[in-house]
C-alpha cells in the first residue's frame, strides 16, 4: 500500500478521463441529432412513399453509421474508466452510481444495438412500418441511454437520494426516484440531448450547403436544410431556456462553479453578467483577483437574475466562498473553506472512532461518534482537501468556455432562423456566402457543444462528487506511468480513428446520396 497519492497521478487520471470524454462527445451529439432528422425523413417516406425521402434518409443513415461506430468504441472506455481509474469513487458511491449505468445497458444499449441492425440491414427484409419503427427506436435507445448517463452525471453535481453508511463505508441509495428525477438530472437531460439536436441540425445544414455550393443534389440539399433548420431552431431555443435553468441550478448547488464561470472574485448585490470579457493576468500569469477583467461588456443585474431570479440578490464571489461570513439565501451564515475542511476532518475522525467503537462493541460511544459524523457529513469531502485554494477550479477555462458556449448558442438561434427564412423564401440556392456560413457553422456547433461540457466538468473541480469526494480521494492506486501510457495510447488511437472517420465521412459526402433509379 502506498503511503500517499502522487499528485501527478491525479492529474493524469483526470486528463485521461477528459480525453476520452471529449473524444466520445465528438460523436454522441451527432448520433442523437441525426437520429431525429433521419427519423423525420423516413417518416416522410413512410407517409408519401416517395423514393426521394427513402434515399435522403438512407444517406444520413450512412453518415450516422460511420459516426455511431466510433461513438460506441469511445463510450466503452468511459464506462470502464470509472473502475479502472476511479476505483475509490466506484466503491464510495457505486451503490448509487452503478444503477443508472446498469439500467442504461439493459434498457437502452440493447434497444440501440438491436434496432440499428434492422435499420441498416432490414430494408428488404422487414415491412416499411417495422423499419420506420426501428429507425425511431434506434434514436430512442440512444436518447434513453443519454438519460441514464446524464442522471449519473447530474448526481455527481448534485448528490441526492442517498445516505452514508459508516459500517460499509460508502454512500447508499435510499430514494431511487430522487436520483432518477432530480431537477438537475431532468434539466441536464433536456439541455444536453436537445443541444445535440442543434449539432445534428448544423451538421445536416453544413453538408447540404456544400452540395448547393457544388451545384449538385439540389432538391436533396434544400429539403434536408429545411427539416434541419426547423429542428435546429426549435432545439436551439429550448437549449437556451434549459441553459438558463442550468445556470440557476449551478448557483444553488455549485456556487464556486458559477463564480469561476464569471471570474467573480468579490460578491455583489445586483451582480452583472459579463457578456464579453478578457481576463486580466498578473506578471506571474495568475488572474488578478483585485481586477480580474481588463475589458468587459456587462449586462447589469443579469447574473443575480440568472442565479436567484432576483435582480438585487447577492451573488458570492470566489473570495467570499473561501472566506465565508456572508448570508446564504436560507438566512444562515456561510462557513469559510477552512471551517468546512475542519468539519470534514471531524467527520472522517468520527467515522474512524465509530468503527473503532463498533469493533470494541462500545455502542454508547459508537452512537455518539455517529452523531458527530452525521452532523459533519455534508462536509465529508472537505476533509480530503489540502488547502482552501484547491477548491477553486480553473477560472480561465471556465470563464472562456462559458462565453464560447453562450455566444455560439445565441449565434445558432439566429443562424437556424436565417436558414429557415431563406429556405422558405427559396433563396438558399443562389446565396453563395450563406452556403459558406453554413459550412463554417459545423465546427462552431461542435465547439459550443464541447465548451458546454468543459464548463460543467472543469467548473466542478476539485469535486468528483460535489462536497462529498474530491478527485484526489476518488482515484485508483496506480503508478502514474501506467496512466500516462494508456493516456498516450488513447490519444494516438482515437486521433487515428478520428482522422479515418473524418476521411470516410468526406468520401461518403462527396459520393452523395444514392441516385434515383429512374433518372440515373
Amino acid at each position: 500500500m502506498k503511503e500517499s497519492i502522487d499528485l501527478a497521478l491525479i492529474d493524469w487520471s483526470r486528463a485521461q478521463f477528459a480525453l476520452t470524454a471529449i473524444y466520445h462527445w465528438l460523436f454522441v451529439p451527432l448520433t442523437l441529432g441525426l437520429a431525429v432528422i433521419m427519423g423525420v425523413m423516413e417518416t416522410l417516406y413512410y407517409k408519401s412513399k416517395d423514393e426521394f425521402w427513402k434515399r435522403t434518409a438512407r444517406f444520413w443513415m450512412k453518415l450516422f453509421g460511420i459516426n455511431f461506430a466510433i461513438g460506441v468504441a469511445t463510450g466503452l472506455i468511459l464506462e470502464f474508466e470509472f473502475g479502472t481509474n476511479w476505483s475509490n469513487y466506484s466503491w464510495f458511491v457505486g451503490d448509487i452510481f452503478g444503477a443508472p449505468l446498469a439500467i442504461e445497458g439493459i434498457l437502452a444499449f440493447f434497444m440501440e444495438a438491436t434496432f440499428i441492425a434492422v435499420m441498416f440491414f432490414g430494408w428488404n427484409k422487414v415491412s416499411r412500418g417495422f423499419h420506420l419503427a426501428s429507425t425511431w427506436l434506434t434514436g430512442l435507445g440512444a436518447t434513453i441511454s443519454a438519460w441514464w448517463i446524464l442522471v449519473a452525471n447530474a448526481w455527481m453535481q448534485y448528490p441526492v437520494g442517498m445516505e452514508f453508511n459508516p459500517d460499509t463505508v460508502r454512500n447508499e441509495m435510499v430514494d431511487f426516484w430522487a436520483v432518477a428525477t432530480s431537477p438537475v438530472a431532468v434539466n441536464k437531460f433536456f439541455h444536453t440531448v436537445i443541444s445535440s439536436w442543434v449539432l445534428g441540425a448544423a451538421f445536416v445544414i453544413g453538408v447540404s450547403a456544400w452540395y448547393l455550393w457544388k451545384r449538385r443534389e439540389q432538391r436533396f440539399a434544400l429539403e434536408s436544410m429545411k427539416i434541419a433548420a426547423a429542428v435546429g431552431l426549435f432545439a436551439a431555443v429550448i437549449t437556451a431556456w434549459t441553459g438558463d435553468q442550468s445556470g440557476y441550478h449551478v448557483a444553488q448547488h455549485q456556487p464556486m462553479k458559477l463564480a469561476a464561470m464569471e471570474a467573480l472574485y468579490e460578491g455583489q448585490k445586483g451582480a452583472s453578467l459579463v457578456a464579453i470579457g478578457i481576463l486580466n493576468r498578473t506578471e506571474n500569469g495568475e488572474i488578478d483577483p483585485e481586477k480580474p477583467l481588463m475589458a468587459e461588456i456587462e449586462i447589469p443585474n443579469m447574473l443575480s437574475v440568472l442565479a436567484y431570479r432576483d435582480k438585487d440578490s447577492y451573488v458570492p464571489g470566489i473570495n467570499n466562498l473561501l472566506q465565508g461570513g456572508f448570508t446564504l439565501p436560507d438566512g444562515s451564515v456561510a462557513l469559510s473553506a477552512q471551517e468546512k475542511m475542519e468539519r470534514g476532518k471531524q467527520a472522517i475522525a468520527a467515522l474512524g472512532a465509530y468503527r473503532e467503537a463498533k469493533k470494541n462493541q462500545d455502542e454508547t460511544r459508537a452512537a455518539a461518534e455517529l452523531k458527530i459524523l452525521r452532523e459533519n457529513m455534508p462536509y465529508f469531502g472537505y476533509g480530503y482537501i489540502r488547502e482552501p485554494g484547491d477548491l477553486v477550479p480553473n477560472v480561465a477555462l471556465s470563464f472562456y468556455a462559458f462565453r464560447v458556449m453562450v455566444g455560439l448558442g445565441a449565434y445558432l438561434i439566429l443562424f437556424f432562423g436565417g436558414v429557415l427564412f431563406l429556405s422558405w423564401r427559396k433563396r438558399l440556392t443562389g446565396m453563395r456566402w450563406m452556403q459558406w456560413v453554413a459550412m463554417l457553422t459545423v465546427p462552431l456547433a461542435y465547439l459550443a457543444s464541447q465548451a458546454g461540457w468543459v464548463v460543467a466538468e472543469c467548473g466542478r473541480q476539485p469535486w468528483a462528487i460535489q462536497d462529498l469526494m474530491p478527485v484526489n480521494a476518488a482515484i485508483s492506486s496506480l503508478e502514474t506511468s501506467s496512466v500516462q501510457t494508456t493516456f498516450f495510447i488513447f490519444l494516438f488511437l482515437f486521433t487515428v480513428l478520428l482522422v479515418a472517420e473524418i476521411r470516410i465521412m468526406m468520401k461518403a459526402i462527396v459520393t452523395g446520396p444514392e441516385k434515383d433509379v429512374e433518372t440515373a
Partner: protein, 381 residues
C-alpha cells in the same frame, strides 16, 4: 425475500450475462477465422458481414456485464478494474479496435486499408476471448490485491483497494491455470464462430471449411476445458464462514459446491452436454447446420453453472492471494439491499428485452447471407 436472496439473484444475473457474453464471443471467434476460412474476397466479405450483424450484441453484453457488476457488486468493480488495470485495458483496447473495424474496413478513405481493419478484427478475435478467459479464471485462482476500508480514514492515501504488484493484472498470465482457461475460451469462441458461420452463410465452400474448423478447434478446447474443470474439482477452494465472514481454504471446495447445489450441477452438466452435442452433430452429420444453437445454449449454461459455483454456497468469488480476508464474497462486496431490490424491479424487463432481440434477430436472419447479397448494392460492411 431477504438480502441474501437479492445478493444471490444478482450473482445469478451477472453470471447469466457472463454466460451470454461467452456465447456471443462467436463474433470474435468468427472474426479470428476471416483469413483461414475466407480464401477469396467474397468469402471474407461474407464472414465479416455475417459476424458484423451481431457484433453489437457482444459489445452491448460486455458493457451491460460491466454495468450490472458495477451496480450489484461495486467492490468487485473497484477492486478488479482499478487493480487489474492492464488486463482490462488490453481487453478494452481490442474491443475499441473491433467496434470501428466493421464500419470502416470497406469504406473509401479509411486511412489504414481494408486488411488492417480486418487484422484488428482477428486481433480482437484472439486477444478478447483470451484475456476475458484469464480474467474469469481468477475467480477460481485468485488475484494479488488487498482491500482495507479503514484506508478511507487516511487523508493522504484514502484508496481502499490496492494491487500487490506493478503488473496490474498481467500477473494473471503467470498462473498456468488462468492461461489454460484463457486458451480454452479462445478455442471455444473459434468453435462457436465456425458453427455460427455454418448456420448464417449460405455457401458450400465456407460450410465445408467451417465444418473442419469446428473439429480442429473443438479438440483443443475440450482438452483445455476438461483439464481446467478436472483440476477445479480436485483443488482446494476459497470458502467463507457464513457467520463470521472469515475466508478459509477448503479442500475440494468446488466439487463440494457441485454436490451441494444440485440445480447448478444440472445446469452445468446440461451445458456441457449441449456444447458437445452441437459439436458432435455438426462434425458427424453432413449438412447439419443448427449446431450453434446447441453449443451456444450449452455455452451459456456451462458458463452460468461455472460462475454460480464460484459465488454460491459460501464461496469467495474473487479471492485474494495477497490477503485471504480481503477476498470478495457476495455479502461483503454487494450493493445495499435497497439498490439490489430496485435493480431487481428493473431486471423484470430483461425477458422483454430478450424477446425483442430474438424477434428482430429472426427478422434479419430469415434470409441467410450469400454471395449475391454481397454484390447487390444493399448495405454491407
Amino acid at each position: 425475500m431477504d438480502y441474501v436472496f437479492y445478493q444471490e439473484y444478482w450473482w445469478f444475473l451477472v453470471s447469466l450475462l457472463g454466460g451470454l457474453l461467452v456465447f456471443l464471443l462467436f463474433v470474435q471467434g468468427g472474426n479470428a477465422l476471416i483469413f483461414s476460412l475466407g480464401q477469396n474476397e467474397t468469402e471474407r466479405k461474407m464472414i465479416v458481414n455475417s459476424t458484423g450483424r451481431k457484433w453489437e450484441f457482444t459489445f452491448t453484453t460486455l458493457v451491460t456485464f460491466g454495468g450490472a457488476f458495477f451496480a450489484s457488486f461495486p467492490l468487485f468493480y473497484s477492486t478488479s478494474f482499478g487493480g487489474a488495470y492492464w488486463l482490462w485495458m488490453v481487453i478494452l483496447f481490442s474491443f475499441v479496435l473491433q467496434a470501428v473495424s466493421y464500419e470502416y474496413q470497406s469504406k473509401k478513405g479509411n486511412l489504414l486499408g481494408k486488411n488492417t481493419y480486418r487484422a484488428f478484427l482477428v486481433l480482437n478475435g484472439i486477444v478478447g476471448p483470451f484475456f476475458l478467459g484469464c480474467a474469469v479464471a481468477t475467480f477460481f485462482t485468485g488475484a494479488d490485491f488487498t482491500v482495507s476500508k479503514e484506508q478511507l480514514l487516511t487523508e493522504a492515501m484514502p484508496v481502499i483497494s490496492a494491487w500487490g504488484n506493478n503488473w496490474h493484472g498481467l500477473d494473471a498470465l503467470a498462473n498456468s491455470w488462468n492461461m489454460v482457461l484463457g486458451w480454452a475460451v479462445v478455442f471455444l469462441s473459434r468453435t462457436l464462430g465456425a458453427l455460427y458461420l455454418i448456420n448464417n452463410i449460405q455457401d458450400e465452400g465456407i460450410y465445408q471449411k467451417a465444418r473442419r474448423a469446428v473439429f480442429a478447434n473443438a479438440v483443443p478446447f475440450l482438452f483445455l476445458f476438461l483439464a481446467f474443470v478436472i483440476r477445479l474439482f480436485l483443488t482446494e477452494g476459497f470458502a467463507v464462514d457464513p457467520d463470521s465472514g472469515r475466508v478459509f481454504m477448503e479442500p475440494f471446495k468446488y466439487w463440494h459446491n457441485l454436490l451441494a447445489l444440485p440445480v447448478v450441477a444440472v445446469i452445468f452438466l446440461l451445458g456441457v452436454a449441449g456444447v458437445l452435442g452441437g459439436i458432435v452433430a455438426t462434425v458427424f452429420r453432413a449438412g447439419y447446420k443448427k449446431g450453434i444453437w446447441w453449443t451456444g445454449a450449452g455455452t451459456v449454461l456451462a458458463v452460468l453453472g461455472l460462475l454460480l459455483l464460484a459465488g454460491y454456497n459460501h464461496t469467495a468469488y474473487y479471492p485474494s492471494t495477497a490477503d485471504l480476508q480481503s477476498s470478495l464474497t457476495l455479502a461483503n462486496s454487494c450493493s445495499s439491499e435497497f439498490t439490489l431490490k430496485t435493480m431487481s424491479v428493473v431486471s423484470l424487463l430483461i425477458p422483454f428485452v430478450l424477446a425483442y432481440i430474438f424477434y428482430a434477430w429472426r427478422c434479419i436472419d430469415r434470409k441467410k447471407i450469400d454471395a449475391k447479397e454481397m454484390n447487390d448494392g444493399e448495405h454491407t460492411y
